[in-house]
């Protein structure tokens, strides 16, 4: 009996173990999911409205209700939120809610929600977090209609807002990866959902139901690559501007109380400027100081100039916030003073001093943030040096953030190719029709063997008043997606500053307003923040006698998109003749690709027909091949790429392969379907420019109808070519 009990227990334990492993395995494969809101806790609409309110600037009078009809809730059970646009709203087509009681949690891949459109018309919707991140145009998301078991890949429309289309009658789950948002998602407070009915003029309200708001998936851990500096530096401190009697402590350079408290710090004359001398007068092995620097998340690293005057190699730990040291084995960069390029170095020192400053080293040390395994701040940096037990000095200079811009630059125009002023006009430059009428432009020598464009304002001409102080010139360019901004070389020969405005794609809200722009005078190495004027329409100050490059980050504009219609404006302080010279208009900070800038496709041309057919015959399927071609920024055809096609919105009876084979069955509806074409470069498979275009489906002449009129074969004829037995 005992033997049977043991056997039984053995079998039972084995079964339990197997079941346990199976459960563990299943759990391990299950996708991460965190329900945030299912509306079940709300007893009434009034209770719901305590947490859910309209967004004051869109759909401010739309109606938020608690829906208790399970047919309009996720899974056909429980409650949901019902949102109805209001005819009383100032923005009648909008419906919105804002909720601040849902907490964000890190580590998830995206947000999902269930939505139902009970109406007869489609509407667009987008979520927005903390008044910031919202889904990008033409970005991936997924849809799973109720009753389906797998998600379908979709692409947001090309619109900046309301770019998730909810078709009439749709109900199902939408999930949007945070990677598809236009800014990093780090918080939710508040979450906005804003819908747009799209009726113009508005004729009737629309409703939607939302439920099961959740976080899903696991955020991918990104392994940050070590990036060496290019010429994009933002100087944190080069000491040059300090008065003679400025002490390091006055500027936040402090002794490290847990290090060698007798380290001496001094600003010294160094080269043509000043530098920080760190000396170990106490003949201890250690020398150290503490300093906090501002941090920018988009920067790739911190660089500094260092001269080791100790005569010996020094161990070095530039530690962040008293704790975060460079990680052993990771890469950083050094550049001797006269070297042209940075070379890689590896943090191969000790745990306490991971880096080494070679004896006699004089040059730059660049610390990519990847050497720290990621950086979120540069507070309380402790620069710790360990050397010989002798008096030694190390010079520090030019602390910089680098890689803030990065990427490639593409010239929009450098004026060198124009023969004369007529050619400039023929290329599309003209005075802005709503601007000054007493202005003119003319090609001039740019002093570098090329040409530039001189803009002139004449005084005393008929328009008078403000127009006598303005120059406005307009030109439409082809833009490239992904640029971090527009830059332009500007020369102001006057002894007084002029103000510059830069409007893109028209619209007073799409111009370089009072945000930060950057300037780099000719001969300078790095950009610095430019002066912002008090005139919001001409916010960029071009200093007297300035000649250099002005960078306008894309953040200054609402958006930059094709075609990039630019109105460049200058405004002087008095109604006297003045002139400015512009040159080298560029897009900068384009994503790095293994493609030469001149081979980058900036314009996609659709070569296939803009229409297709919905078949009428039973069992008939129409197919058509979509085709595009790509032009570079100079309008030259490029054949270094193919296209990846996708439907912007799912449409019944319509399928599209990545290679562009469009198939339409008789289940399709008449009307436009929107298609996204993405450039895929042959060289490295990287994606490039995108274009959304439409194909209009109409009832076509059905070829297969002919098959329905079949008849018996004819009798043999003398005219037949062939006779068969």
């Amino acid at each position: 009996m005992k033997k049977y009990i043991v056997a039984f227990l053995t079998v039972l334990m084995t079964a339990c173990l197997a079941a346990g492993l199976a459960c563990f395995s299943a759990a391990a494969e299950e996708e991460a999911y965190k329900l945030l809101e299912d509306f079940e806790s709300y007893a009434s609409t009034e209770a719901l409205r305590e947490n859910y309110q309209n967004y004051p600037y869109a759909g401010e009078k739309s109606v938020i209700e608690l829906n208790s009809d399970a047919a309009d809730a996720y899974g056909g059970t429980g409650k949901s939120l019902k949102l109805t646009s209001s005819m009383e709203s100032a923005q009648k087509e909008n419906a919105s809610f804002s909720v601040s009681t849902i907490a964000y949690e890190e580590g998830y891949a995206g947000i999902s929600f269930w939505i139902k459109n009970p109406g007869e018309d489609a509407f667009g919707i987008y979520p927005q977090f903390a008044y910031g991140p919202m889904p990008k145009a033409s970005a991936p998301y997924q849809v799973m209609a109720d009753g389906e078991t797998v998600f379908t890949d979709m692409t947001t429309s090309e619109a900046q807002y309301y770019n998730i289309q909810i078709q009439a009658g749709f109900s199902g789950v939408i999930r949007i990866p945070f990677a598809s948002f236009n800014a990093p998602v780090t918080g939710f407070n508040p979450i906005l959902f804003i819908a747009w009915g799209g009726e113009d003029p508005f004729s009737k309200p629309f409703s939607l139901f939302i439920d099961e708001i959740a976080l899903y998936g696991t955020a991918e851990e990104t392994v940050e690559e070590a990036v060496a500096p290019n010429d994009d530096y933002e100087v944190l401190d080069d000491f040059d501007g300090y008065a003679v009697d400025t002490l390091p402590a006055d500027q936040g350079y402090l002794q490290y109380e847990y290090g060698n408290a007798e380290t001496s710090l001094a600003f010294i004359s160094y080269g043509e400027g000043k530098a920080l001398a760190v000396s170990n007068a106490a003949k201890s092995e250690r020398a150290d100081f503490v300093k906090s620097f501002p941090f920018k998340a988009e920067a790739k690293g911190l660089s500094m100039f260092v001269e080791n005057r100790s005569g010996a190699a020094l161990a070095f730990n530039p530690q962040i916030n008293y704790a975060q040291s460079p990680v052993l084995g990771k890469t950083y960069f050094v550049k001797e003073e006269n070297a042209e390029e940075y070379t890689e170095a590896v943090a191969d020192g000790s745990e306490f001093y991971p880096l080494t400053i070679p004896a006699g080293f004089k040059g730059e040390i660049a610390l990519p943030f990847s050497v720290y395994g990621g950086v979120t701040a540069l507070d309380n940096m402790v620069f710790q040096i360990y050397g010989p037990a002798a008096e030694y000095t190390v010079i520090f200079d030019s602390f910089c953030l680098y890689g803030i811009v990065g990427g490639m630059t593409v010239s929009l125009d450098n004026f060198d190719s124009y023969a004369d002023d007529a050619a400039v006009a023929e290329a599309g430059y003209g005075l802005y029709s709503y601007g000054s009428s007493d202005s003119a432009f003319s090609l001039v020598d740019d002093g570098k063997g090329g040409k530039a464009l001189k803009l002139m304002n004449f005084d005393g001409e008929p328009s008078g008043g403000q127009d006598n102080q303005r120059i406005d010139i307009q030109k439409t360019f082809t833009a490239l997606d992904g640029a971090k901004g527009i830059s332009m070389h500007v020369s102001n020969p006057q002894d007084d500053f002029v103000s510059m405005g830069f409007v893109v794609n028209y619209g007073y809200f799409n111009q370089a307003l009072t945000g930060t722009h950057y300037v780099k005078a000719d001969g300078e190495e790095s950009f610095s923040e430019g002066i912002v004027t008090t005139n919001p329409y001409y916010a960029i100050e071009i200093p007297a006698n300035f000649s250099g490059t002005v960078r306008m980050p894309i953040e200054l504009f609402t958006a930059i998109y094709n075609p990039l219609i630019c109105v460049i404006q200058f405004y002087a302080n008095s109604a006297e003749y003045f002139e400015v010279v512009i040159d080298d208009i560029e897009l900068y900070g384009l994503p790095e690709q293994a493609i030469d800038p001149s081979d980058i496709v900036s314009t996609i041309r659709v070569d296939s027909k803009p229409y297709g057919f919905v078949p009428r015959a039973e069992g008939e399927v129409f197919t058509m091949q979509l085709a595009c071609s790509g032009l570079n920024v100079n309008g030259e055809l490029r054949e270094n790429h193919s296209y990846e096609f996708s439907l912007v919105n799912a449409a019944a009876g319509v399928t599209l392969t990545k290679s562009g084979l469009l198939t339409v069955t008789n289940e399709a509806e008449l009307g436009e379907i929107k298609i996204l074409a993405k450039v895929v470069y042959d060289a490295d498979g990287s994606y490039g420019q995108e274009l959304t275009f439409s194909v209009n489906l109409s009832l076509g002449e059905s070829a297969l109808v002919s098959v329905g009129n079949k008849k018996a074969p004819p009798a043999p004829s003398d005219k037949d070519y062939f006779v068969f037995a």
Partner: protein, 191 residues
């Protein structure tokens, strides 16, 4: 007597001429093409179409090996005019073409074949779909979608297709192993 002989000879000649003139045309001589054909065996639809202007044929998808095509063909029955034959790939680019005349390069099993224009052979790539099409005008009779052939290990016969302009192609669902025309081609498996 001579007269009688002459009359008899004349009567015989007249009878010979009468018989000769009333005799049916000789069947077109067969000349088997070198290589395999899609229509190695087939069953014609009992009816067809004679009032369509456009292209008719079949969509195929090549299997695991490339195919070398050397001839294009079409049913020879009721053929009273020359026919242009083409192979298009999925992007509707012409891969091969041939003109079928009253003097074909091969005749077999009532299918007539013509060599490709400008080249000895064309390659149909593994895994790619192609359209084999014959240009038909009003008055040309071709057999309908119930013309069936046997499946083969080299490519799938996806179904019948028609197109007015070689661009928008109508594909008929549930017509696997069926061929309009029928069209055909001669192929070998690439080494």
């Amino acid at each position: 007597m001579k007269k009688l002989l002459a009359v008899g000879l004349a009567l015989c000649s007249a009878l010979f001429l009468f018989i000769a003139c009333g005799k049916e045309r000789e069947p077109t001589a067969e000349k088997r093409p070198e290589g395999m054909t899609m229509l190695s065996s087939y069953q014609l639809d009992t009816s067809g179409v004679d009032d369509y202007e456009g292209y008719v044929g079949v969509k195929i998808t090549v299997g695991e090996s490339d195919l070398n095509v050397t001839m294009l063909g079409r049913i020879g029955l009721h053929m009273q005019k020359d026919h242009e034959l083409v192979i298009l790939n999925e992007t509707k680019a012409v891969v091969a073409s041939a003109t079928l005349t009253a003097a074909p390069d091969a005749v077999w099993n009532k299918i007539v074949y013509a060599e490709l224009k400008g080249t000895d052979s064309a390659v149909l790539e593994a895994g790619i779909s192609y359209y084999i099409l014959s240009k038909e005008a009003k008055g040309d009779f071709w057999y309908g979608e119930e013309t069936a052939t046997a499946a083969n290990p080299y490519f799938s016969i996806d179904g019948v297709v028609m197109t007015k302009d070689l661009y928008d192609v109508s594909f008929m669902k549930n017509t696997q192993n069926c061929v309009l025309g029928p069209v055909d081609f001669v192929f070998s498996v690439a080494a």
